[in-house]
């Protein structure tokens, strides 16, 4: 079982067999024999392999469910060569393994998503109707905030993780025993809201429970059908047509200025990009006008990404954290394990646990 895992993770880490052999101080032929299953690495070598390919030992040795995320067909050429994107995908796969581990250790069964929609058989789905129906099911009002949408989705067993990710990666979604959406914490809140709604569309319409590969959404080349559908659905969900029309009438000429567009975007808690997209699809704007509203903003993917963040509670899904903390309080897992599960540093995790401990102590006093 470890053979294919080692091979996959080595490739994902962008290492050749010779690279890995050099890092581990072994002969390349030994790596080859491990990957063919002819030999099994020693415990010490397993620890070294985990370190070299950038995964936890637990993931390397124990992952039973092997979630997969695939770059979409329309991803720009060479994107799979992007080291930071590959690393984010590996981390997402680890996080889903951690979800399984946490719930299993706690003796809790996974909770399946309770929202059920399937557009795959519908040639031209009525997205406004779907969005309106879903707003009702989720009890959302016409002006949704990120926190409201996250809470509504939590109530239907959807885990949302907000991680620092490469700038060209907006979000990822996965549906299996657990349903998970990752959104890029480095993006401003309005963008994250649209991404969450976009990924929700993928979860509802393009993924099923059969644990097929998850979807990785990139900030570029959104010209395939499913990406278009996800964008349209997100726009319908967050910027309902009737509300947009009312406000359009009220704001009239102001919407011809960048400031007017910004005001309207703020009302719907979305970015100016998303608002422009909404109005352009209504033919209120012409796509060629876009330059008038936006200054060029180069996408940079060469910036170093700080994956370890300082806000454990803000980064992971509350249900996941709650269950993990129950295990910690029961002495079943350590602070170091909690740090791994939350992709946080030890010092951040210790500080978080201390704050929590002293908060409880002060309540008791």
């Amino acid at each position: 079982m470890h053979a294919s895992r080692i091979r996959d993770l080595r490739k994902r880490a962008g290492l050749t067999q010779a690279d890995l052999a050099q890092r581990l101080g072994v002969d390349t032929s030994l790596i080859s024999r491990w990957e063919k299953g002819e030999r099994e690495p020693s415990p010490q070598q397993m620890m070294d392999i985990a370190r070299a390919v950038g995964v936890t030992l637990d993931f390397l040795l124990n992952a039973q469910v092997q979630p997969r995320f695939m770059l979409r067909g329309a991803a720009p050429r060479g994107m799979d060569e992007n080291h930071e994107v590959r690393r984010a995908i590996t981390d997402a796969e680890q996080q889903i393994h951690f979800l399984h581990t946490v719930y299993e250790t706690a003796g809790k069964p996974p909770r399946k998503l309770t929202l059920k929609y399937d557009l795959s058989a519908v040639p031209e789905p009525d997205l406004p109707d779907f969005a309106a129906e879903l707003r009702g099911v989720l009890r959302l009002n016409h002006f949704v905030t990120l926190d409201e949408l996250k809470q509504a989705l939590r109530d239907h067993n959807l885990h949302v993780f907000e991680w620092a990710m490469p700038s060209n990666l907006s979000g990822m979604s996965y549906r299996g025993a657990f349903t998970v959406i990752f959104i890029n914490a480095l993006q401003p809140k309005p963008r994250r809201l649209f991404t969450l709604a976009h990924e929700l569309a993928h979860v509802l319409f393009h993924l099923d429970d059969e644990q097929g590969p998850g979807i990785v959404s990139l900030f570029s080349r959104r010209d395939d059908r499913e990406e278009r559908q996800a964008n349209q659905f997100a726009a319908e969900l967050l910027m309902p047509l009737d509300q947009v029309n009312v406000l359009k009438q009220q704001m009239a000429g102001r919407l011809r200025t960048p400031e007017g567009l910004e005001s309207l975007a703020q009302m719907f808690n979305v970015s100016r990009d998303a608002m422009f997209y909404r109005l352009a699809t209504q033919r209120f704007y012409d796509w060629s006008e876009k330059k008038r509203f936006f200054s060029e903003r180069p996408i940079r993917d060469d910036e170093p990404i700080q994956y370890r963040v300082d806000d454990i509670a803000g980064q992971v899904s509350p249900e996941f954290l709650h269950t993990a903390l129950e295990l910690y309080d029961a002495g079943l897992i350590s602070a170091g394990k909690l740090a791994e599960w939350c992709f946080a540093s030890r010092i951040t995790t210790d500080a978080y646990l201390s704050d929590r401990y002293f908060e409880v102590a002060s309540l008791i006093v």
Binding site: D58, G331, I333, A335, G336, K337, R346, Y357, F358
Partner: protein
């Protein structure tokens, strides 16, 4: 919650420190002078992975602190360790903690780690273990530190967010630990029933 278990009578070197113990002797407890005294008696070791965990935060100068007080050692797995054991350990402990325990087992030393989950594993594998408070107890017993200083240290550790009970009415470090141990046993019983 930390534990004072692993009393000094059973303390045997080398001492292998986990990240939280390093933080306690570092920015939380400012116990560099005690480390210097301990170093005269034991080798003080930090496994490579723990060193990486500790120096990741640049707020405190842990690179200098580690090089001053500790030997940073690569991980060596004990010969008796099976992959299955490692797989099980990895579901409950972080990689730094695993390296601390297994290095202590390999070197026949004592793991310095303030984690209940680690203590359980150590117990099952017969690894000697102590915690930050266990080392303070050792320091008091060996006259490396007075009761008053040890109790003041506990309060300083608490002020700097180390999870341990307040000194309260305790006049000696031994009475503080006795009070602590009673609460800790209760915690353990609850955890063991899970």
């Amino acid at each position: 919650m930390s534990s004072p278990q692993g009393r000094s009578a059973s303390l045997r070197g080398p001492l292998i420190f986990d990240a939280s113990a390093v933080f306690n002797f570092g920015h939380r407890g400012d116990l560099g002078s005690l480390l210097l005294q301990l170093r005269e008696r034991f080798a003080l070791i930090v496994p490579m992975r723990v060193a990486e965990e500790v120096i990741v935060d640049k707020t405190f100068a842990y690179e200098d602190f580690l090089s001053l007080h500790f030997q940073v050692e690569p991980f060596v797995a004990p010969k008796s360790l099976a992959i299955e054991d490692l797989a099980l350990l990895s579901t409950r402990l972080g990689q730094g903690e695993i390296e601390v325990l297994l290095l202590a087992e390999h070197l026949q030393g004592t793991a310095v780690i303030d984690e209940r989950a680690a203590r359980r594993v150590a117990g099952r594998r017969g690894i000697a273990i102590t915690g930050t408070l266990g080392l303070l107890a050792y320091a008091v017993e060996q006259a490396l530190m007075t009761d008053t200083i040890a109790l003041e240290t506990v309060e300083r550790l608490r002020r700097n967010r180390f999870r341990c009970p307040a000194v309260g009415e305790s006049k000696t470090f031994a009475s503080y630990l006795a009070h602590f141990a009673a609460a800790d046993d209760q915690d353990n019983r609850v955890a063991t029933e899970r």
